[in-house]
Amino acid sequence: MNWEAVIGLEVHVQLNTRSKIFSGSSTAVGAEPNSQASLLDLGMPGTLPVLNREAVNKAVRLGLAIDARISRRCVFERKNYFYPDLPKGYQTSQLAEPIILGGEISLNLEDGSEKTVRLHHAHLEEDAGKSLHEDFHGMTGIDLNRAGTPLIEVVSEPDMHSAAEAVAFARKLHAIVTSLDICDGDMSQGSMRFDVNVSIRPRGEQTLGTRTETKNLNSFRFMEMAIHREIERQIEVVEGGGEVVQETRLFNGETGQARTMRIKEEADDYRYFPCPDLLPVVIEEADIEALRTDMPELPDARRERFAQQYGLSDYDAGLLSGERATAAYFEAVVAECGDAKQAANWINGELAARLNAGEIGIKDSPVNSASLARIIERVADGTISSKIAKQVFEACWQGEGSPDEVIESRGLKQMSDSGELERIVDQVIADNPDQVAGYRAADEKKQKKMFGFFVGQVMKQTGGKANPREVNRLLGEKLDG
C-alpha cells in the first residue's frame, strides 16, 4: 500500500517581552528559581491579571507578517487542568475567539519547489512553570519563573506531508518570528517548542486518518526524527492489521524512542470558559496600522533583495536571508570587504560547517564579521592564498588573534614579487635536471601535465605561501625560456 502522511504543527513561540503577560514579573532567563514569580504568577487569591500591551502588539505583528486576520476583539479563556507547575489550576489561553485567524506561510523546499502552508489560527496564552525531576530525592521541584511568560501558539492546517516539509515550515516560522523580533528564537532554552500531529492515509484518500500528537519537541532535528519514526510506526500498525489510537506521545531525542504519554482527553475535558478576570481585548484599527507601518524586512523580501542587490544565486540568497542574525552577519561582511560572492561562500561553507559542528549561533561565532571580511580582503589583495586563508580562519576560530596578527605571527604572507620566490624557482629547476630535460623534450600536451610537478615542488619549498600566479609565471619563463 502506498501511504501518505498528513502533518499539522502546533508551535509555542515565547514572546520576548520584558515582563510577563499578566504580571509585572521579569521574564529574564537564568534567574534563581522562583525569584521571578509574583503573587499573581503563584495563583494567590485576590490577585488580578493585567494584560501586557507588548504581548498583544507582538501577536499582531506576527499576524501582519503571515497575512492573517487580526481579530478586532478577542477573548481569554480558562483551560482547566491540574499540574503542579500550573499554580492557578488553569492556563489562561484563548479558544473560541483567538487574536489571529488564518494566514499562511510559504516554504522553499530543498528540491527547489515552493509550497504554501495555511494556518488555522494563533492564540495568546501564558506559559507554565517548570517541573524538575532530578536532584530532589524522589520529589519533584517546581520553579515558577517561567509561569506567565507570554506565548503565542501557532496552529497550522494539516497541509504538510513529510518530515522535510514540517521542518521547512518550522524553520520558516523561526525565521519570521526572529526577523520580527518577537521571539529570541533560542531553541535550547525552549523559546520555540513544537507539537506534531501525524496521521496516515492511503494515497489519494480524502478523509483523514486517526492522528497522534507528539509533544514538546525543541529542535528541528528531533522533530524530523520524531515524525519519521511516527509515520513508520503508524504504517506498521495499520499494515499489521491494527488501528492507530488517538494519543499523546513523548519523544526522547537522546534515545530516538517515543512512547505513549496519555490517551487523548477530549477537548472539552479542559472545560474552557471565558476568564471572568479579564475583559474582552479590543484592538483598534489605528493601532494595527501603526504596527503595520513599522514592520521590519521579512525573510522572503530579504531573500529577493539579496539575490538582486548582491547578485547571489537563489540558493545562497535563501541560506543567508532566513535568519536575521545570519543576514546581518553577511551584510556586515559585505560592507567591510565588498565581495558578496566570497562572503556568501565563506558563510555558507566554512563558517556554517564550524557553527553547526559546535552548535554555536552565528552571533557567538569566534570569527566575527570584521575578521571574516579581513580574511577575504587579504586573499583579494594577494597577501595570502585562498588555501592559506582556510588556515587563517582556523587559527582565528581557535582564538589566536585577528587575521592580520595570525598572518604575521605564523609567517603566512604569500611570497609574490620578491626575489626570494625567484630563488626558490631556480633552485627547484637546478635540483631536478632530469625532469627539466624531460619537460623540454615533451610535446605541449605532456608539458601541461608535467608543469604541475614543478608547481608542487615550489609550493612544498615555500610551505604553500607562494602566490600561485607568480609561480606559474616564473616557472613558465624559466622552463620554456
Binding site: 517581552t17 520584558r18 515582563s19 504580571s23 509585572g24 514579573s25 521579569s26 534563581e32 528559581p33 522562583n34 525569584s35 521571578q36 514569580a37 509574583s38 503573587l39 503563584l42 493585567v50 494584560l51 501586557n52 500591551r53 507588548e54 504581548a55 498583544v56 477573548v75 482547566n80 491540574f82 499540574y83 503542579p84 475567539e97 517541573s131 524538575l132 525531576h133 536532584d135 530532589f136 524522589g138 520529589m139 519533584t140 521541584g141 517546581i142 520553579d143 515558577l144 513523548l250 504519554m261 496519555r262 475535558d269 472545560r271 471565558p274 471572568p276 479579564l278 475583559l279 474582552p280 481585548v281 479590543v282
Partner: protein, 95 residues
C-alpha cells in the same frame, strides 16, 4: 437535559473532588436543577444577540511592558510544606 451519576463522577474527577454516594446523589440533583434553569434560558430568542464574554461593556485595559515586581520568594516560600534549593517540592510527578 439531565446529568446522570456517571457524568457527575467524571466531572468530579476532573475537578479532583471526592464525592461519596450521598454527596454524589445530592450534587447530581442540584446540578440538574441548575441545568433546568439553563434549559429555560435556552428557550429565549437569541438569534440577533452577540455571544457575551463578559457582562460589562468594557474593553481590557493594557499595561506597559515594564518589570514592576520584585523578588518575593522568601516571603512566600515559608508557606510551602516543602522546599529545597529555591524550588517548591511536590510528590514526584512524571508523565
Amino acid at each position: 437535559m439531565a446529568l446522570d451519576r456517571e457524568t457527575v463522577a467524571q466531572v468530579a474527577q476532573l475537578a479532583r473532588l471526592r464525592l461519596d454516594e450521598t454527596e454524589s446523589a445530592a450534587v447530581t440533583d442540584r446540578l440538574n436543577e441548575i441545568l433546568g434553569m439553563v434549559d429555560e434560558l435556552q428557550q429565549a430568542e437569541v438569534a440577533d444577540v452577540e455571544p457575551m464574554a463578559h457582562p460589562l461593556e468594557l474593553a481590557q485595559p493594557l499595561r506597559a511592558d515594564e518589570v514592576t515586581e520584585s523578588d518575593r520568594r522568601d516571603d512566600v516560600m515559608g508557606l510551602a510544606p516543602a522546599e529545597e534549593g529555591g524550588c517548591y517540592l511536590v510528590p514526584r510527578v512524571v508523565e
